[in-house]
Each structure stands twice: as C-alpha cells, then as structure tokens.
Amino acid sequence: MNDPQAGGAVGTGEIVAELRGVSHRYNKTTALNRVDLAIPAGCMAGLIGPDAAGKSTLLGLVAGTKRLQAGQVRVLGGDIADEAHRRRCYARIAFMPQGLGRNLYPTLTVAENLHFFGQLYGQERAERQTRIDELLKATGLARFPDRPVGKLSGGMKQKLGLCCALIHDPDLLILDEPTTGIDPLSRRQFWDLIDRIRARRSGMSVLVATAYMEEAERFDWLAAMSEGSVIASGAAAEIEAMTGADNLEASFIQLLPPEKRAGHEPVVLPPRMGEDGPPAIEATNLTCRFGDFTAVDRVSFQIRRGEIFGFLGSNGCGKTTTMKMLTGLLPASEGEARIFGRELDASDLQTRRHVGYMSQSFSLYSELTVRQNLSLHAHLFHLPRKEIAPRIAEMLDRFDLAEVADALPAALPLGVRQRLSLAVALIHRPDLLILDEPTSGVDPVARDEFWRYLIELSRHEGVTIFISTHFMHEAERCDRISLMHAGKVLAVGAPAELAAKRGGGTLDDAFVAYLQEVVQDEVQPPSDTAAVPAGNDHAMAAAARPFSLRRLWAFAQRELTEIQRDPIRLAFALLGPIFLLITFGFGISFDVERLPFAVYDGDRTPESRELVESLSGSRYFVEQPPMASAAELERRLKSGGVSLAIEIPPGFGRDVWRGSQPEIAVWLDGATPFRAETARGYLEGLMVQHGQELARRQGVDPGALLPADIEIRLPFNPSFESVYAITPGVIMLLLAMIPAMMTALGVVREKEIGSIANFHATPVSRLEYLVGKQAPYVAIALASFLIQWLLAALVFGIEVTGSAGALLVGALCYVTATTAFGLLVSTFVRTQIAAIFATSIIIIIPTVNFSGFMTPVSSLEQSGRIFGLSFPSAYFQQVSLGTFVKGLGWGELWFNHLILIGFACAYLAVAILLLKKQEA
C-alpha cells in the first residue's frame, strides 16, 4: 500500500516530490513516522486525514519551510535539504498555509498584498501590475483592489491567498486545508478556479491537504494519512475499490487500524419526543452592529426544547456573533432573545448556569491538566462542594478521559481535546448547549463519536443543542437547520425539507442555490477570457540571488504601510517622547531647594532665633513648626517630615557671648544620601556666614577665616541648571526605549499571528527580512529625534554648540543600534509580554544608571563601567552631551560613532543567527 509507485499511473507519470523514510518529531510527539511517498507531478494530488495526522508537517517539509529531521525529501528534481536547491525552489513552489488568510496582512489592501508578494519574487512594477490585473480578473476580485484584507469574507481571503501564491507562476502549488471554514459556494468557486488555472498551466502540480472527504473525491491522486503514517495512496476510485466502500469517508474509516475503528457504526438519529413548554431559544429580529458594519441583521428563529438545531454558513457570516449574543457575551443592538422564556440579560449570571458553551477557538487552558480544567470549571459554576469530585469522575468516565486525566491538553490529539471541551461545557448539567464549530479539523471517526454524545444528550437527557458547523454530513443529522449568509438567515427548516425545496439534490447543492440568489451582485463572475500569466524563468534567477534590495524594500514598504494604517501607534511613538522630554526638562533637577527643617530650641533667646532665621531666610531651607522635645525630634525625622533637625542647647546665647563655643547638633535625614549631602554643604556654608557675622559683631576679624577666594567656573553650563545636563540625556534615553519597543514586537508578533509563514516560504533572506522590518522604524526614530532637537531649542533654549552633523549622524547610528536591539529581543523571546518586558527592563537600567546620564561615567565602579560600556547608550550620551553643551565636533567624537555602528552590526548579526529560515 505504501509503494511509492502507487500513484504513478496518474498525471504525466513523473514524480514531483518523493519522501523516503521521513520522520518528524515535535519534542515528544511524533508527527511523521518513517513515511515513504511519491507524489505524482502534473496533477491534483491530495492528502486526507484527521488534523493530527501529520499532513501539515508533510506539506511543510515538501515546501522547504520545515527543517528536515530524518529521511530524504526530493522535490522538483533535487534534495530539499540542499540549501542551493531550496533557494531555487522558493521561486518554483507556492505555499498557502492553513488558516483563513493567515499569511496575508489584514490592514493592507488586496492590491498591496499582491504587490508585496510580487516584489518578493523580484518582479518589476509593470510586470507585477499586469499579473495582478489578470489574477484579480480570473478570481473575480477585480472590483476590490483597494479593500483591506481584514474586511474580506473568508472565501475572498482564500481566493486572494491563491492569487498571492500564483503571482510567481509556481511549478508546484501547495495548499494546506484551503477551504476549511468557507461556505459551500465559495468552496466550489475556489476549486473551479484551481481547475481553470490548471487548464492553462498544464504542467503545474498541485498538492492539497483537506479534511473534507467529499472534496477529495475530485482529486486525481490521494494519500490517506493517520497518526503520522500514510495508510493508503492512489486514485480515489482505487482506494474505494480497495476497501469496498462506496464513498471516500467510509473507505477512510475502513482503512483505519482496527483499534481506532473499534465500535464504529453509522450514526443514527432517533426521532425526537415532543416536549411542551416555551422554546429553549426564541430570537426575534436580533441585530448586532459594530460601527457601521452590521454583523447580524434581523435574525429570528425558535429552537424547541431537546432539539438539535444546526447553524450553517461561512466564516464571518454572523454565526459566531449570533451565538455570542445568545450566551450574553455581546449585547444585541436591536431585537430580543429569550432563553427558556426569560428575556436574556447580559448581566444575569443566573441564565449562564443553564447554558454550556463551547467556543470556536476554545480554548482549554493549555497550562492546566484535563482534571484541573474540569475542576476549574466545576468550581466556577459553583457545583456543591460534595458533588464536584463525583461529577469530575463521572465526566472522565463518560467521555473516556480517565487515562489522560493528568495530561496537559496540548499533548492530546484534537479529538480527545474536543471531548474534553464538551465535558467541560457539560460539567454543570446545562439545559442548553451552544457549540460553535466544535468539529472543525476533527477526523471522521472522532466526529461520529462526538455526535453520538450529542444525540444521547438530546434524546435521553432533553438537552437542547445549538450547533454551528461547516460539514454538510453533520447538518443532515440535525433536527432543523438554518442557513446563514452575510448576517442574514436565508432559510430555516429540516435538512431534507430544504434540500427538497431547492431541486431535491444534496443539502450542499441546496445551500449553494440559496447562496447564489443573494450573492450574485456581490462577486462578479470570473471572466473566462482572462489569461493566467504564463511562467517565466527570470523569477527563478531573481529568487536564487542571495541578496536583493527589492525584497528588502518589499518588507520595509509593507511595515511602513502597516504603521500608516495604525495611526495610534505612530502617535504614541512620536508624542510619547515629546511629552517625556518636556516633563523631564522641567522635572528632573539636582538643585536641592526648599528642604524642610525644624528646630528643637532649648535656649529661646534672640541669639538662637537669629541662628534659625539665617537658615529659614535662604531659599534652600523652609522652616517647619518647632519641636518640643528630643523625642519629637527623633519622631519627626523618622516620619520624613523634616530633612534636617537642629538642636540648640540651653544657654546657647549666653555661651556665644562668653566665647565658650557652644555646640549645635544638626541631624540630617541620611535616608536619601544625595539630598543629605547637599543639605550639609548648604548648611555648613550658611553657618559659617552666620558665625562670621556674629564674630564681626564681637569684634573679631572674620577675614582670617577665608583668606582666599575660590572662583567657580562652569564652562558647559554657566547657569548650573539641570535642564542643560538632563535634556541631552533624556534624548539618549528616549532614542533607546521607544525605537527598540517598536521593533521588539516585530518578529514575535508575526510568529503569534502567523504571517511569519511568508518568511519561511519565500526567497527572502534573514538579512533582508530583518533590515526590511528595521528600516521604517529607523526613519521614524530619526524623525522623532528631529522633533526632540527642535523642542530642546524652542522650549528649553538649548542650542547645539558643537557639530550638528556629528549629532545627526550619531543619532542615526544610535537608533540603528537600538532598533537592531529590539529585533534581537524579538527573535529570542517566546511571547509578546516577554518582548515588552525585556525591552523595558534591559534598556532602562544601563541607560539610566550606567551611561553617564544620572552619574558621570568617571565615578562608576569598574563593573558598572563595563555594564555601561556594553550598551550603546554610553557612547551616544557622549555625542549628545558633547554636541549639545560641550561644543564638541567630529574630531573628539568620531570614535563613538564607530562603536555605535559596531553595536548595530553586532545586534543584527546575532538576531540573524537566532532567526531560523526553516521551522523546526
């Protein structure tokens, strides 16, 4: 069955990709287990099987986006492990990853996305435009070139994804579950489109993974996969003949190993017993608007108690929104919903106890074990304490989860996770179960098993089930279904009834017929005259080039457009520094003034009062109410109410005149050393002045006390104002933090969102990718710097006294280094939280403490100096301070510029090393 030649009979007889002994593991999980497979060229080849079967891994290995771990993969006549061949292959292979528009950029328009991909393959603008026009015409998207991708429907996104994949005329087109989550009409249009393209480019091989067996029927060649192995390959008819089943789904089940198939029998839906009472759900004219977009438009339906009600429609048609309104998650803009006769109120937690909800993305907590997940939900629903343990045991037993009770959900196959989700949703014995696409991506056996649970719940326990699905087979098992499109309900009724109304074909045909009525004006039928561009060779030559400015520019331009579409982020990036510069210019000051002091005066004579006045008369000290005892003195110091406490002994006035030199005790609050030190300096100065004054009155020549004058010269800051010293430092701080924060999320965010796939699947190199992402932020940071420079001059009157050129070039080198640092952070963190935190904490400590901003570098200890010198800030601080206030130029500063450039290159080099062109 695993004979590599099994598929040789179809197509041209040639092989497009061949796997020998290929195994692949993710940590402990085996995704592929010694797979041997030959995929025929020039035809439509399909991979079928459940979600965790290893289909995506296999496609990734063939596309060269995943690193080969064991075995050999030959694609398009060469070894994919050979880097030179792989680079040539990027231009010949197109890879469309799983997920609706996951590799597209939602804020960019249709045309911008296509231009981006065209640029990656080295196409000139004119050539790109011709190709884009033709592709858009061929796919019927020609009317929406300027619509942002985020606002396209799922079907349109997939068509655009296909356009992006076809822009460089690939010889091998790889599609990973391209039609999951889109409506039947779009699905048909999608396959028609593929057929038309293949008709024009007959040499093209197509490799598709799908979970829809009915789609797989039309493929020329199939490989069925289960648990990392290929269990059969050949034409659909051959496979059916081999198993003796009449359709592919049944054949697939037949092919499964006996233990997986055990107990499998067709799902039977027993008739529903009539029940009385108010309907479980009654929706009347439910409407939900987001801004001017109507997601759900006057939807009405009734679901009877104990009924299984199916909700069909494409992604984005409003199914999920409707369900959310019924769970109370979203308030309805208009209309009314009643649950068991009670009007739905989002703030009413009581109704939620009757409802179990399994959301689309859900989303078990991956950090909790199976048992902990059940326990968390049992507690959140406040089952009586005594019932919790037995209830968990019951659910584990009923849903066959006992063996995996202490495993983490991530380690479990999707089918098991889905059973767990259902168990979680049922833990509090709800009367109504709302399930949003619970079976997406689950294999047929597990899906049937899941339905048996649902039927049992409905028929034996009277639970009302409201379920949304893409699968027509599942829809046929519902008591009644509702077809939804673009926020509207098209039809409601029993599946057979609806099929009969629209010509008596299958339910799928009926749905397509309903859809066609409403969408005619929405999508222009693709024109048959549009030619799909023919292949050319220069794309391959361009892709093989190791460095291309055009690809770099493609990423830079895309990043820039994304920033343009997110003006809030741009505003934060430009306004944040303005706010901070002004605040710090006024706020950070080392001038110690208005220190609160208090006196414990044991003397109370004119002399003692005079002494106190000599302090309170200066701008450095502010007198507080006097203290009555030594104990109060201690308490006041302790509370921080005074920074300085003065104790004047009894008999002070008398002793002064006697010449017996009485002693005044002064207590400084040493808690804040800098302030205490400054206070001591001021105090001693004032005391000397006062003492001289007193001595003069006593007839002593005070001249002997200070025989020499000290003239203090402050060459860089004649008025000794903090703002001159602080502002250049604040600019240094801001040019480190904000640019780095902008780039720090760059890579890790693409990983979380999924658009990193384009980096893996296209000819772009690591250098082009990183520098392309960096360049726009360097420009923004430089613009921000110019604004800060202007502010320093206008608001604080700080002019550049040295070389403006050295400052500008220094700033450019510095922001290049700090943005490169951000990218470096982005390549080693795993989550966006860690990226934000790392950028903040790693940067702020050396910039504030060790770069000469708050304390001069010359008075740092050795290791602190090393700490400071190992970050670019210390060098730019020299440039900033030097050119702003010290009047320095290139002659004194050039070395700092060189070091800054060195930092930029080093950070980028490490980031390149950490970033992997192929996934694990």
Binding site: R352, G670, L694, A708, M854, L881
Partner: protein
C-alpha cells in the same frame, strides 16, 4: 461573596500557571530582581565618591602641594596634575569633573594678605556630582589654608560649633538607597507590564470570551489578574530584599521588612490596576508597549527615587501626588531607611490605597465597557 472569592482564587491560580509556562519571562523577572538590583546598588554612586579631580599647580609652593595632596578617598580620587591647556579637553572627554587651578605666587600673595584667587572648573553636566563636589572642594581648600596659616592647628574660630550627624545612615552611603529605590522602580515596571499584557493576550487569543460565558464577572477576572500578578511580584520582591539586598549586598535595612511587604502589596494593587487600565486603552500589544513606556518612566524618574521631589517645580510636585509611586517611594524610605512603624507611615499608605481604589474603579468601568464592545 464566598463564590466570588472562590472564582477569584481559581482564576488567579490559572494566571500563575500561565506565567510559569513562559521560561523567558521568568528568567527576565529573576534578572530584574537580582542582577539588576545588585549591579545598580554596587556600581552607581550618588554621593561624592571617588570623584576625579585635576590640579593645575602653577605655584609649585609648599602650600600648593599641600592642597594637591589634600584630595583623598573616599570623596576624591588622588588628584592628577596637569598643565593648563589640558583642562578643557579633559573636561570635554569626561576624564575628570573638577579642575582646580592654583595661580603663580599663590602662597606668597596669601601670606601677604592679598586674598589671591583660585579657580575651580566644574563639568556641570555631571549634575549629581558638580554641586556637592564643588562644596567639598571649597571646604577642603578652606580647611587646608586655615590649617597652614595656624601652623597646623585647624581650630574653628567661629563663636559656636556645628556638629552635623547623619541620622539613619552615618556615612551617607548610597548603596542602600540605590538598591531599595531600584527595587521600587522594578516593581512598578513589572506590575504594569505583566498585568496589562496578560489582559491583552487573553483578548488577542480570545480566551477572555470563554470566561465570560461562565458565571464569572469582569470584576472577578480583574481581581484575579491583580492578585495573581501582584503575588508573583511580591514573592520576587521578598526574594530580592532578603537574598540580594540583605544577604548578598550586605545592606542593612532599618525597619520591618514584613511591614514594607504589606505596603508593597497595597502598592501592587494600585499599579496592577493601572496596568489593566492602560491595557483597556491600547488596541493591541504594540500599542500597549509604546503606551506604557511614558507611564512607567515618569512614575519612576519623577517619584523622588531618582532626584529629590522638592527640587521639582511646585506644579509638577502637585501632579506627581497623583502617582502612587510618589507615595510608595516615601513609604519605602520611611520604613526601610528610617525604621518608621505603622504609626508614621499610614499617611503614605492612605494615598496609595485611595489612588489604587480610583484606578481600580476606572479600570473596572473601562474593562466592562471594552468587553461589551468586543
């Protein structure tokens, strides 16, 4: 009530588990509360300590040599002697911060009672050092001259004597100050980022919705995030205080550490609430990252931890009263530096609690509204 507390507890445990699942984040937290505190406390100096000074001795007399030798550790590094043309380049490069010029015939003029002038050049861009250092230089010069004149008897001729002592910190060492202040700053940064980003992550991953279909209120979700992230930071803070500040750095703190930790818990309530508030303002993680920088930078640099609060303009001092960090810094200083007890620090606790309550209320309102619109 019991139910609510139960929910909050359980959701918080879940929060802690997801924190535990991100090793990079944990390593960063460890760095923040150990290495970072150690480095700053050990290596930064706010006081005049080993300041670099140069002397241009154009007199070459006994007195001028006496002055040159008078600059001693710990305040100064031994003075370097240079020629007059090297003053400006040396100051520009930052080789030294002070340059004292002793003119020719200084000693002769002094003895003749002509009051000769000395010149002190100061690099005033080194703000923390320049002012205090200049005072020290003046004092040292004055003392030495007086001593020289009185043949070594440096007797104060003032009619009274001033004895200055520093309470709580006799040597005015900044190691303790810097360690504790850096700790308060790191608490602020971490509390804002951890809580705010945790909320945005749940929103971006869609798990928050799942919580909301259960009988769980936004209030409970918020409280869970606050206690769980607050507790994680509090544990890190205790570790930092006991293990790094006390054991490794050998810094003695005056007051009760448990009391400080209790104050920190209250502060964490306020700052984590602020984190949630910021998260409701930001639409995405990149926006949040840029939004929180100005917030925590202002909260840290203007709280009085870096530079004295009294030296800021009065209007800014008033504005900074609205920041919980200002009060927390005072609280930390009172307890850990001056050994103040609850009887003295309640006036710092009260504003932290008040601001915390207000931030919490605003965050809660915005969070509820944000959820309704999601």
């Amino acid at each position: 009530m019991g139910r609510m507390l139960g929910n909050i507890f359980r959701l918080g445990v879940k929060e802690l588990r997801s924190l535990y699942a991100d090793p990079v984040l944990l390593i960063l937290m460890l760095y923040t509360f150990t290495v970072a505190i150690y480095e700053v406390s050990k290596n930064v100096q706010m006081e005049v300590d080993h300041a670099a000074i140069a002397v241009i001795d154009e007199d070459q007399s006994q007195l001028s040599r006496r002055l040159t030798d008078a600059f001693l550790p710990p305040q100064f590094k031994p003075a370097i002697e240079i020629g007059a043309p090297e003053v400006d380049p040396g100051l520009e490069r930052g080789d030294f911060v002070f340059a004292l010029t002793i003119p020719p015939h200084f000693e002769r003029d002094l003895l003749a009672g002509r009051k000769p002038g000395l010149q002190l050049d100061v690099d005033a861009t080194a703000m923390s050092l320049a002012g205090n250092g200049a005072v020290y230089v003046e004092n040292i010069v004055g003392r030495e001259i007086a001593a020289a004149q009185n043949q070594g008897v440096a007797q104060s001729a003032l009619p009274f004597d001033v004895v200055v002592r520093a309470a709580f910190n006799p040597n005015l060492s900044s190691a303790r100050f810097l360690a504790i202040m850096q700790l308060t700053e790191n608490i602020t940064i971490l509390a804002i980022i951890l809580t705010g980003a945790a909320l945005i992550r749940e929103r971006e991953h869609g798990t928050i919705e799942h919580l909301l279909v259960m009988p769980v209120s936004p209030f409970e979700i918020m409280c869970a995030k606050i206690w769980a992230n607050g507790a994680a930071i509090l544990v890190a803070t205790s570790l930092s205080l006991y293990a790094v500040v006390q054991a490794v750095l050998g810094v003695e703190v005056s007051g009760s550490i448990p009391l400080f930790l209790a104050g920190s818990a209250l502060y964490l309530f306020a700052v984590t609430a602020l984190g949630i508030f910021l998260a409701t303002l930001a639409g995405s993680m990149p926006q949040f990252g840029l939004l929180c920088i100005p917030v925590f930078v202002v909260m840290n640099l203007l709280s009085g931890a870096m530079t004295p609060l009294e030296s800021m303009p009065v209007w800014l001092q008033t504005v900074m009263q609205a920041s919980p960090s200002t009060h927390f810094v005072k609280l930390a200083q009172a307890i850990l530096f001056r050994g103040a007890g609850l009887d003295l620090i309640w006036r710092h606790l009260l504003p932290v609690a008040g601001i915390g309550a207000i931030l919490f209320a605003i965050a809660w309102m915005r969070f509820r509204r944000a959820i309704a619109q999601s």
